[in-house]
Amino acid sequence: MNYHKFDAVIIGAGGAGLMAALYASKNANVAVVSKLYPTRSHTGAAQGGIGAALGNLEEDHWEWHAFDTVKGGDYLVDQDAADIMCRDAVGIVLELEHMGLPFDRTPDGKISQRPFGGHTNNNTKQPVRRAAHAADRTGHMILQTLYQQCIKQDVQFFDEFQFMDLLISEGRVAGIVAYHIDSGELHVFHSKAVFFATGGWGRLWNITSNAHSLTGDAPAVLLRKGYPLEDMEFFQFHPTGIYKMGILITEGVRGEGGVLINGKGERFMLKYAPTIKDLASRDVISRAIYLEIAEGRGINGQDYVYLDVRPEVVNKYLAEDGKTNPDGSPRTISAADIEKKLPDIADFCRTYLGVDPITQPMPIQPTAHYAMGGIPTDVDGRILVDAANTPLPGGFAAGEVACVSVHGANRLGTNSLVDLVVFGKRGGIAMAEYCNQVELPPLPENPEAYAQAELASLMANPQGIPAAKLRKAMQEVMMMNVGVFRTDQLLTEALERVRELKKQFAHVYVSDRGKRFNTDLLEAWELKNMLELAEVTTLAALNRTESRGGHARDDYPQRDDVNWLKHSFIWQEGDNFRFDYKPVTIGRYQPQARVY
């Protein structure tokens, strides 16, 4: 048996995992296990910015940020958590700067900020410059900076090790089993605590901004082992993905003045969000795009619209809206500004679309983007095993995989990066504290047995269906039926289909029979996880008979605070599923109708 002993193991080396590692390793002996090299985590794809009420360019307050977060989340946000996040955000963004993060600067040398969807001046309701940014590669810089700091602190990494099983003994966490991709061997990590930071599972859908590696392994394993997931029906579709490819075009484009245009050349967001228009929150815009397309106003009647950032167009609308710079002069944008502030976006468009955003509008469509739900945790990253807030001793989680819940029914742009660093840090600190209080639990007997069985069952079929076929079928049905708009009928259909695919999965055949770097095998295992999550996502969506944030039911178009102002927990029990509910923590902000 390949055996390692640590105080704690962190799974995932994205923003959340690395932040946790930095803090936990100060007081405990920590290993970071990641299926990718850390710098390849999808945090590096985040573009637009990290929200914090620094007020570097105009008046701002963390309370405003908290309010925007709560409103953006359609009041499903736990307000105590939102307060913590928005308050801590300010200090943490400064801390990131101190670590060396190369933020863009204002003329007086401070961190530069830009407007972002749903972030407002609470008095005027106008967009506020809150997203601290490093060009359009803020996530890349966060990931790099945190990894750099981990190297400085000599954090121990196990790169290209895939988490496969959580070990429990005496009712507490006792470590994990991970698959070493290179050798094909299982490794047992014996530890007092485990921290999940494995990111999202956007690969459930056909059109997605998410990486191939985002397959929800950890939540699926937890689900199989009898732990609940929270608010799984809430998955965000980002309005501006590159047509057919799903590659994200950051909201920062609209922050810089870009506008959405339909097939008739209209700036249609005027209709749907008269006050903040193209910077309304994501669910609102994604639905608006779908409605435009449904009503035949896609470009040339097809299923996409334009995102237009051509200087002449932007300047026309900026003038129309009377936008000004901090010094009062009218705000304008030039081709050079676009190259400077959105270099990667310009590059994506040119590479993948052959479209130059400076002279042509970009064809876009909503793309599966972000999991609001996930592993339930409290504000210190402790995993909760039921709706009564009972923690799992030694279990921690943060980042996209976790549900604190600060994003409620719809996450605001820039808030994920905040979530990663704030709760990654809090979780890391809490975990180190926990490790110093408890003894190492004994290893369960045959710790590798479960993972071994999983692998063996995948290798059992000498022939059969390639995993890719099933995966494609799943992604398509999830896109069509469990996407931006949902109905009872669509969801029921989807559920049937997913269950059928799950059955067929028994016949999946791994054609690479080797041990070393068998990514064929891993892809099959990942599909198993995705099917699991597809099923609970669909079930949870069927279950919630209202429309709220990212969950829009055509057959229940209204938000229903009387029955549904609550988080849903879902358990898998054999072939059945069980729901339970947890009230939303309301603080200063009472639920109101959400208009932008």
Partner: protein, 235 residues
């Protein structure tokens, strides 16, 4: 459109040596090479192995030699590659399986240049360290690096002598040397001044030609050389 992928295969459990194998696939002109490889892997031969993650050129997983030149498979479109496409692992690092190479020597070089901000002064309590727009601009280019290893593994100097620290590591060093907040310039220049440091760069420009982030690597290396000769970055 139907294309032939000519792929250099190696399976450590079966093969003694690398060998070529051909696969035909149907692709859209706008498909990425990564899509084409996926088609082979998913529907034809599951043992075809390569790394990938983000699928849009930001994670740096899928560097390979495509038609003789280093590229990211996800950042090159089939229509630009012709009817017959050759795919090989990047050069100068030990091959593990098919396109997968041992990245450890590469990351070891990265770690060797102390890729983190060094500034022992207490930062201001509740605000950022100030930096002018110009000072920030000074090192902007080299912050873009995604550590894909395209550059280092296209560099003849690195092929010739694997001890060379390589362009990627110099890019990382540059990012800190020219950051006005960093206090370890001299220590960093000392590292770069090694026999196997910047002086091994022969201004071949292969690195620049293939950097998917379009970093002016040779320029960055040149600036580091100059800083060493001038004994610092001032002026």
């Amino acid at each position: 459109m139907r294309v032939t992928l000519r792929i250099k295969r190696f399976n450590p459990e079966r093969d003694e040596k690398q060998h070529w194998e051909e696969h035909e696939v149907d692709v859209e002109p706008n498909d990425q090479l990564l899509d084409a490889l996926n088609k082979v892997k998913w529907y034809d031969d599951g043992s075809l192995t390569y790394r990938r993650s983000c699928a849009h050129g930001v994670c740096g997983s899928d560097a390979m030699v495509v038609n003789g030149r280093n590229r990211l498979a996800c950042k090159v479109l089939m229509k630009d590659l012709g009817k017959k496409v050759t795919v090989e692992p990047i050069r100068g690092l030990p091959v593990i399986k098919d396109m997968v190479v041992d990245m450890e020597p590469f990351f070891a070089r990265y770690r060797a240049v102390k890729p983190y901000l060094i500034n022992d002064n207490e930062p201001p309590a509740d605000r950022e360290r100030l930096q002018s727009i110009e000072d920030r601009e000074r090192f902007d280019d080299t912050t873009k690096c995604i550590l894909c290893a395209c550059c280092t593994t296209s560099c003849p100097s690195f092929w010739a002598n694997g001890e060379y620290v390589g362009p990627a590591a110099i890019v990382q060093a540059h990012r800190f040397i020219f950051d006005s907040r960093d206090m370890a310039v001299h220590e960093r220049l000392e590292i770069m001044n090694d026999t196997m440091g910047v002086w091994r760069c022969r201004t071949v420009f292969n690195c620049v030609e293939c950097c998917p982030r379009e970093i002016d690597i040779t320029r960055a290396i040149g600036e580091v050389k100059k800083a060493i000769l001038n004994g610092g970055v001032g002026g």
